[in-house]
């Protein structure tokens, strides 16, 4: 698939010598949803701020649709929409005017019918004549999305779109993001909510301390880096594990009534068959079996800890 954003060896060191990004290289494919996952201060916002022209890079290059973000800034910026993390809005302005203002900034002729459609899609049409300071936090965030969409961008950056948003609105926002992707928009979102990345992202890029740790399809990442756990429920509690089972690194749970076994599901030999055979030989009676897949959250925590 064609790359729409290409980041090459991007670094950023702020005036206070804090190195926010260290040699990041990343390609973002057209029409995908990619989640930049990382803890606070990982460098996610710095990265998208550089691409959008708000922060000046120290070294490296970025192209959007094959145009350089510095040399061809007019072309690249007109392709990009940005929803910032903070609710950075002029509080005394009216919703419709404020969204139209952003369209003008991007060099587009006024188009009230398009603004009407965007506001209706985001359930803001009833509030078009309201001042921004009269809106709830969730509505303000939707105004930011409406502003970012007002010039019909093909690449949309969402910086922590669900920060401070209730569960219902978060679900609604995910739906909006998916619909945008279906309409041909490439979405890059930063988040530290793992479930958000799991729910809507095609790919995940994990960033920590300015370094890109891993980039992969969300499902492949879970499959390749995640472990599965086999939970074995026993008929009778055991005090210690039989010596024959020591090589499996089992964990005794639930006052000896359960045993857990971690295995790599992508491996040819998971060891399950031999474990069950050995358990039978030691006389342990099985009551029930269950398997659990480790989540993206486990993987993320593990990656960040290792880093």
């Amino acid at each position: 698939m064609q790359n729409v954003v290409s980041i090459k060896k991007l670094s950023k060191t702020y005036d206070n010598d804090f190195q926010a990004l260290k040699n990041i290289t990343l390609d973002i494919k057209k029409n995908e949803i990619i989640a930049l996952l990382g803890p606070n201060g990982a460098g996610k916002t710095t990265m998208i701020s550089i691409i959008c022209g708000i922060v000046i890079p120290t070294s490296g290059s970025v192209t959007v649709d094959n145009f350089d973000i510095i040399k061809d800034y007019r072309r690249t910026r007109s392709l990009i929409g940005l929803v910032p993390q903070e609710l950075s809005l002029e509080q005394f302005e009216y919703v419709f005017n404020n969204v139209s203002y952003t369209r003008g900034l991007y060099g587009k002729a006024p188009n009230p019918s398009l603004i009407e459609k965007i506001l209706k899609d985001l359930s803001l049409w009833d509030k078009r004549h309201s001042r921004i300071n009269e809106l709830s936090g969730g509505m303000k965030r939707r105004v930011l999305i409406a502003k970012a969409l007002s010039h019909e961008p093909s690449v949309l950056f969402l910086d922590e779109p669900s920060a401070g948003v209730d569960v219902e609105l978060r679900q609604e926002m995910w739906q909006v993001i998916k619909e945008l992707r279906n309409s041909g928009v490439t979405i890059i979102l930063t988040t530290h909510y793992i479930e958000e990345a799991e729910a809507i992202a095609d790919r995940v890029a994990v960033i920590n301390k300015g370094e890109l740790l891993v980039v992969d399809n969300t499902s492949d990442l879970v499959k390749s880096m995640g472990q599965k756990t086999l939970l074995i429920e026993l008929h009778e509690a055991i005090r210690t594990l039989p010596s024959k089972l020591e090589r499996y690194n089992l964990t005794v749970l639930n006052n000896g009534l359960s045993i857990s076994y971690n295995y790599d599901s992508s491996s040819k030999q998971t060891g399950i068959t031999s474990l069950l055979q050995d358990m039978k030989e030691t006389g342990l009676k099985l009551k029930d079996l269950n398997t659990e897949q480790s989540s993206l959250e486990n993987i993320f925590v593990e990656l960040v800890r290792e880093n």
């Binding site: 708000i54 000046i56 910026r77 940005l82 002029e90 203002y101 952003t102 003008g104 900034l105 060099g107």
Partner: protein
């Protein structure tokens, strides 16, 4: 050239004036009217003519310049500082807009607001004192040039300010004293010789006298020196803003 962006910034800023009409229009008009009432009508009646005009008429160019300078600076300084303060500056920085277009939008709107206030003040003055403008085209030229120059200066202050206190320092501590001591309410000839010489180091003296010359054809300073001084300051502001904005100072990291 992104004309839609210039238009968007310009009308966005003009809209701010409409929303704050009391602060933008009424406040300077009321305070200037008070000057005309106190200095022009009440005290002015007891002061003999200066440069062949009544004291009330004499102070009109000075008060006009006082308002133009303070309004131009505060309009554009606030215009660029407020989005920095709220964080909404991000959308201007992320838009396909050049530094020149940003300046034209913000400074153009600020200069327009000052021009409107200036014209209203002239109309207000005509209610209190006899108003004659000997060189109306020159007066208009100086009016526009002053609004543009000091709007650029205010834009520079807004860019460099990191808080509201810094925003107020230059207009309150530097500009207002310079205007009051720059011959807005008196001629320099009225001062002792030493202070006359000191006054020539005050750049505002040249601006006020230039404006006064356009009204009455007489002033303490040659009109050409006044115009050249104003153009010189305009160029200095353009260079200053160009350097600051090209480095991204105050808005980009």
């Amino acid at each position: 050239m992104n004309f839609y962006a210039i238009r968007a910034i310009y009308f966005h800023e003009m809209d701010r004036m409409r929303r704050t009409i009391g602060q933008s229009i009424l406040s300077p008009v009321i305070s200037t009217s008070l000057y005309f009432i106190v200095f022009g009508s009440v005290i002015g009646g007891m002061i003999p003519e200066l440069d062949g005009v009544s004291y009330g008429s004499f102070i009109v160019p000075g008060l006009l310049m006082l308002t133009l300078l303070t309004q131009s600076i505060s309009n554009s300084a606030f215009g660029i500082f407020f989005p920095k303060f709220t964080g909404s500056i991000y959308e201007v920085l992320a838009a396909p807009v050049s530094s020149f277009e940003i300046i034209v939008g913000f400074v153009g709107a600020s200069a327009t607001k000052s021009l409107i206030v200036g014209i209203i003040i002239l109309l207000t003055a005509s209610f209190f004192v006899e108003l004659k403008i000997q060189y109306p085209l020159l007066m208009l030229f100086l009016l526009v040039l002053t609004c543009l120059t000091f709007s650029l200066f205010g834009f520079l202050i807004g860019l460099l300010s990191n808080n509201f206190e810094q925003l107020q320092v230059v207009p309150l501590i530097i500009i207002t004293p310079l205007v009051f001591l720059g011959g807005s309410l008196y001629t320099i000839e009225m001062l002792p010789e030493f202070w006359q010489k000191v006054s020539y180091f005050n750049p505002v003296v040249y601006l006020i006298n230039g404006m006064r010359w356009s009204f009455y054809g007489a002033s303490d300073i040659n009109i050409f020196i006044s115009v050249v001084s104003l153009v010189g300051f305009l160029i200095a502001c353009i260079v200053g803003v160009a350097i600051v904005i090209s480095k991204g100072y105050g808005v980009k990291t």
